[in-house]
Symmetry: D2
Subunit: 272 residues, 4 copies
């Protein structure tokens, strides 16, 4: 664990794992944190990649930022971190909200990105995604982690996952009942607000590096057909669907997720 400072005093938490090799930059979904990736990191370091994880402002172990802000604020934080670590290029792997950050970064700082993976994300916040996010904000306002879990999770995990992982979900509810405390829920609400006007549909064509798009077959928040719209705009994109996965495809189908990411890295990260 390590930190760096932005805006004079705001601390951003990050981890850089692995000895050598191209650097994968994990950009979290809105409910995730660097801790969410503990089981994934060794898969990549064993395959000779370095893994850079970061908590966004208002996320995980990073400081809070009780201001109004828009999602692109994170891009500048990431670039500062890359500069500090003297990383010229990374390979972002962005999930949902993190995928939006990755796309913004690819448009503004294309030279800092070798290739990227965009999973379960959209190029514009749809009315439905906004309605679901607002439902989560209502849920967060209850300041009760367990209630938040019950109200928000059915949007995230697929019906398939609910059928086959009831024990996991029950134990997860127990854990998160504590983790999702008042502070977490307050910070969550600010992150949610920051993305409501996100819309880069008209800028996607500027993205020129190789992009892997990963859809979940049963993702209702950022559905396959929206990811096809991204694929249509980015020239060097490849779209792959993880079957029976919902919006949390990386958790619901971890092996499948790692399969496509490792494959994309093998094709695009090492060929200097």
């Amino acid at each position: 664990m390590a930190e760096f400072v932005v805006d004079d005093s705001l601390k951003i938490n990050y981890h850089l794992d692995g000895e050598s090799g191209p650097v994968i930059l994990i950009l979290n979904g809105i409910m995730m944190s660097t801790a969410s990736w503990a089981d994934f990191v060794p898969v990549y370091t064993e395959n000779n990649y370095r893994v850079l994880r970061v908590d966004f402002r208002d996320q995980g172990l990073s400081d809070s930022y009780p201001e109004d802000y828009r999602i692109d604020i994170h891009v500048e934080d990431i670039i500062k971190l890359m500069d500090q670590l003297e990383l010229e290029q990374v390979i972002p792997v962005g999930i949902s909200y993190g995928g939006m950050v990755a796309m913004l970064m690819a448009i503004k700082y294309p030279e800092r990105i070798k290739s990227m993976v965009l999973a379960n994300t959209v190029s514009r916040v749809t009315p439905y995604l906004k309605a679901a996010s607002q439902a989560w904000q209502e849920a967060a306002d209850l300041k009760d982690g367990r209630k938040f879990f019950k109200l928000a999770m059915p949007f995230i995990y697929s019906d398939y996952f609910y059928k086959h992982n009831q024990e996991f979900l029950a134990s997860r509810e127990e854990i998160l009942a504590d983790v999702l405390d008042e502070k977490w829920l307050t910070r969550f609400n600010r992150l949610a607000e920051s993305s409501y006007d996100f819309d880069i549909e008209n800028q996607l064509a500027k993205i020129e590096m190789p992009v892997l798009l990963v859809a979940g077959e049963r993702d209702i928040l950022t559905p396959l057909e929206k990811m096809k719209e991204i694929a249509d705009e980015i020239a060097d994109s490849r779209l792959i669907t993880i079957n029976d996965a919902g919006h949390a495809s990386c958790y619901e189908k971890m092996d499948e997720f790692n399969t496509v990411v490792l494959g994309h890295l093998a094709l695009t990260a090492k060929n200097n």
Copy 2:
């Protein structure tokens, strides 16, 4: 509007519209009531059908029933109503929860049903449907109609509907903020509880009358693949999908819904 009495004193609200012709029996979804069908009734009466609408116990203008009960309690109420109205046979059109009631009725009283329509329903409450229902119960416990609307609607209406009907949804929220009062939410919770152990998968094969199954292409609660399982079990069933509709297909795509129901009636209701 009319009432009849069950259990000595519990009043059940019903409407019987139309002069003559076969009787369609509308069985409401859990959040609906006889009032929900105001715009549909003339479509059927003009085509020479009678329309019988009923509010279940704990629904609409029917009395409350503050006991533990299971969903099949409604079947007996319906049969009593049919007896009182001297209706030998009806054609149930059951939506979601109402579809479950229709199937139970078809299994226990097959001679009282000529044919039926089952829309957006399942033969077993799946873990996912139960999770969504429990989310609604959490939402109902807030005793705030507006919050309930915000938390529950994204499960009902499709992303397609959210995209194309934002004004309708906003006005709907205004209306329901008042309608979904504490009494409504309390009654809703009992209705929800009554279906959690619903499972008639093994009895479907007993259903012999013609059945039209209507799925919504984007229904996440009672998805197409679950309706295919019903279709596989009922010998004389026909499955049709309304495109771009979610769980509220009858509202989201009213013309399409009426198209398939009227067609089913033309094929199966009049040939005595």
Copy 3:
């Protein structure tokens, strides 16, 4: 059976069944004829519709037309027939090639159409549909009905239908081995040629009458997504999918097909 004459001497075969009521005009798919609808006609006459069936030039019992022609030639033939029969308006039900004729007619003679049904059709012949049609032409050139059947049918009927109707398909092959004689195959080839440059995508928005679009879930020639493109352009359109049906949805799922057509008629044909 009856005939009328166009181009001085070319005889067009037609049937008009039913005593009274709105007139449904059946427009055949390219491999069909008036005889294909024998089992359908009573369903509609019993519901108080008249049914007008026509064999296009080069089809069924109509005369051959050994010239180069384009698909819109049939529109004028239909209008002449309607004039002769003193039918002011009809309700076309067009299948595939017949759906293309219906759309052309709706654009040129909107006042002659009350509403219409377009099943398993496209507004533009796609490269894939052309490739499949050219495969059929190669097959037709063999002048052997049985070989034609073996080579062409897998494009028409779905895998679902093959699984559940092997006996039917075998008996059908026996029958068609004779019917699809050299004359039939020669005429088929001309009909196929007549549609290759069909493209009315830019004219669809002119269609204002109510239109029911019927897709087959497993139709690979005129797939659901192409029918969605039609639905997006025609303002008063309703799109419904028949599950597990291929390109021959009217044959593969006859009850379902009649359900949606009868429903559309009930909603749109009688309200004068």
Copy 4:
């Protein structure tokens, strides 16, 4: 290029490329040959894998085998080749017909397989797949490569591919018009016959090594839902769909295909 001999004198053509690393065994689809993989081999050798390609009897540069045989005959040939090359274990990548061979090998010689990839294949030849294969046999009987191409290709490539790759398909037709000569078509017919009674549905549960299943979203011959049936039976399987690809997913979407295969190899091939 190299050969080895089975059945005393029947020569089997193979290629082993790459210096070191785990050995991928490419098992061809029925219309493919070792030559089909020329562009793929460097992708894998550059990632430190060896690639073993083989032409089945009656395929590519291997000898003909003008007897009746069943598909499992190839398994013994492969094992003999592995023995001769002193390869204890390989990672089969089987396409369609080659996927069937891979499954047979996994059931009979599980110790010779480390993990495997099954793309666009089935565990049982369905009536539809058989009908399509029989259509190809009719086409092959014409002994004309160009006609065969026109008649068979629309089953293989998706409508999406036809839309976006018309020039490629036209040039391909020119090339194959010569390659698909009478000898090729005769051998093709025997290979097709050898798989008609293929059915290992009841044996799939015996497969215990990690298996990547690759489906094409628009594959009509070995569709996604059939591959889901395989996924349900093999415990350690992962199912991924390549969007907009048909039955020839490896050709239609080469980058996507290499992405998932390389990812599977990274996860399963190197962890000794």
